[in-house]
């Protein structure tokens, strides 16, 4: 019964604010969620505490949402269940997925976890750049193009182009490789069902308000 309490929800929201705000101040900028699991052991103790309490507060909010959903009627049950699942997946995604960040010059390649990633061609366009790349693993090669907002999806993983480092004499292209994982698809479906059921729930709530 205590776990259904709005007071507990208020406490968790307050904890979320305190821990998130202190983590931001202590980190002095942006914490990329995929980097946190790797860098966490090297963080100062206070930042570690902030990140752990932030993670726990969101986890408890998602568990409370799920617990409350179970005693609800159909539409609120669906909405709260998928909302809880989406929050849970957002937390779990960076913890269970492996990513690599690296720079490439045109015509060069890098080997990561048994995969060869190469940048073959660079085509400037009004939308920035189109980069021709390939990923090779076990003698198999998949070629494709990558640009801003359009990652290259292959069976060896997903490749992003996220910027250019112009501090060196030759511009270096920044990439990120995510090992194959079903998480993005699950998360997308769960979030989509959250917003769809949320629409019905909002309409029902509006009708109830009169």
């Amino acid at each position: 019964m205590v776990f259904r309490s709005v007071k507990l929800f208020a406490f968790l929201v307050f904890t979320f604010f305190l821990s998130g705000f202190s983590s931001l101040l202590l980190s002095g900028g942006i914490l990329h969620t995929f980097e946190v699991p790797y860098l966490f052991p090297h963080f100062p103790p206070l930042l570690k505490l902030g990140i752990v309490s932030l993670f726990l507060s969101l986890l408890l909010i998602s568990l409370q949402t799920l617990y409350c959903a179970l005693s609800n009627r159909f539409i609120p049950l669906i909405f709260h269940s998928f909302l809880a699942l989406s929050t849970f997946l957002v937390l779990l995604f960076p913890l269970t997925s492996k990513t690599f960040s690296f720079y490439l010059y045109p015509g060069t390649f890098v080997e990561l976890g048994g995969k060869k990633v190469a940048l073959e061609e660079v085509s400037p366009s009004s939308k920035g750049f189109y980069l021709k790349v390939f990923i090779e693993e076990g003698g198999k090669r998949e070629e494709g193009k990558v640009s801003f907002n359009s990652p290259f999806k292959s069976s060896f993983g997903t490749l992003w182009f996220s910027g250019i480092d112009r501090s060196s004499p030759y511009p270096a292209f920044k990439f990120k490789l995510l090992e194959p994982t079903p998480f993005p698809l699950f998360l997308f479906l769960s979030a989509l069902l959250t917003v769809l059921s949320g629409l019905f729930y909002t309409l029902i709530s509006l009708k109830r308000e009169g």
Binding site: S5, V6, K7, F9, A10, V13, F16, F17, G20, F21, S23, L24, S27, G29, I30, L31, H32, T33, F34, V36, L54, I61, V90, F93, P94, T99, K127, G128, F129, S147, F148, N149, S150, P151, T158, W160, S162, K176, L178, P184, L187, F188, A191, L192, T194, V195, G198, L199, T202, S205, L206, E209
Partner: protein, 228 residues
């Protein structure tokens, strides 16, 4: 020239509203600021919603149009003037269009966010009015605003994944946005706890400064990936 003329006109019209309540002034103000956005989109060749000038224009425009349809009164004009005033101070220049914003997801994310901001601020004003004079349906506005903000987070998450491969990086804007969403959720849940129910209008009133802080304050104070 046009960039200074239209905000001045909107401010003058709303100053007039304080003396004579002509409701059409709110609609006209909304259309004038919306027209300014259309004009600048043609001028730049792309809707430049990533600049502070244009995002303030969009916010003020949506605010005035919503105020008209919700039949809001003088207090709305005062807040509308305060929202439009920065347009006379902010540099309207556009340097370049960042490649990362060239996606329909940008408009879906920003559009739903600004609509929800507008509804949050108006629900806040209605709640304040309910506390002072008579009951207004602020919860309904809050419900719609909350849903639109959920949509904005959904589109933002998809965009962040496609652009950076990260769904929710911990940076000032995303953190405060999630806090705003949780705070609005909490406000909507207060009625289920008898001892907290009476705090609902006070929590709703608190949403307006929180929205203005998330929208204007965060980027200026903390920076982050949302500052282009």
């Amino acid at each position: 020239m046009v960039e200074r003329l239209i905000p001045t006109l909107v401010i003058s019209l709303n100053a007039l509203y304080l003396f004579r309540e002509i409701r059409l002034i709110h609609l006209l103000s909304g259309f004038l600021l919306g027209g300014l956005l259309v004009y600048r989109s043609f001028k730049v060749g792309y809707p430049p919603l990533f600049t502070p000038f244009d995002s303030i224009s969009l916010f003020s425009s949506l605010f005035f149009v919503s105020a008209y349809f919700l039949k809001a009164g003088r207090f709305t004009s005062v807040l509308g003037i305060l929202l439009t005033l920065p347009l006379l101070l902010v540099n309207p220049g556009v340097r370049e269009i960042p490649p990362v914003v060239r996606t329909p997801l940008f408009f879906l994310h920003v559009g739903t966010a600004f609509l929800s901001y507008t509804l949050f601020v108006l629900s806040s004003l209605f709640a304040l009015y309910s506390l002072i004079r008579r009951e207004l349906p602020y919860i309904k506005l809050l419900l719609v605003g909350h849903y639109l903000f959920t949509l904005s987070l959904f589109f933002g998450g998809i965009w962040a994944y496609l652009a950076w491969g990260d769904i929710f990086p911990l940076e000032p804007k995303t953190f405060f946005s999630l806090f705003l969403w949780l705070f609005a959720s909490l406000t909507l849940h207060l009625k289920f706890e008898p001892s907290l129910k009476r705090f609902t209008p006070y929590f709703t009133v608190a949403l307006a400064p929180l929205v203005l802080f998330v929208y204007l304050g965060v980027n200026y104070l903390f920076g982050g990936t949302h500052g282009f």
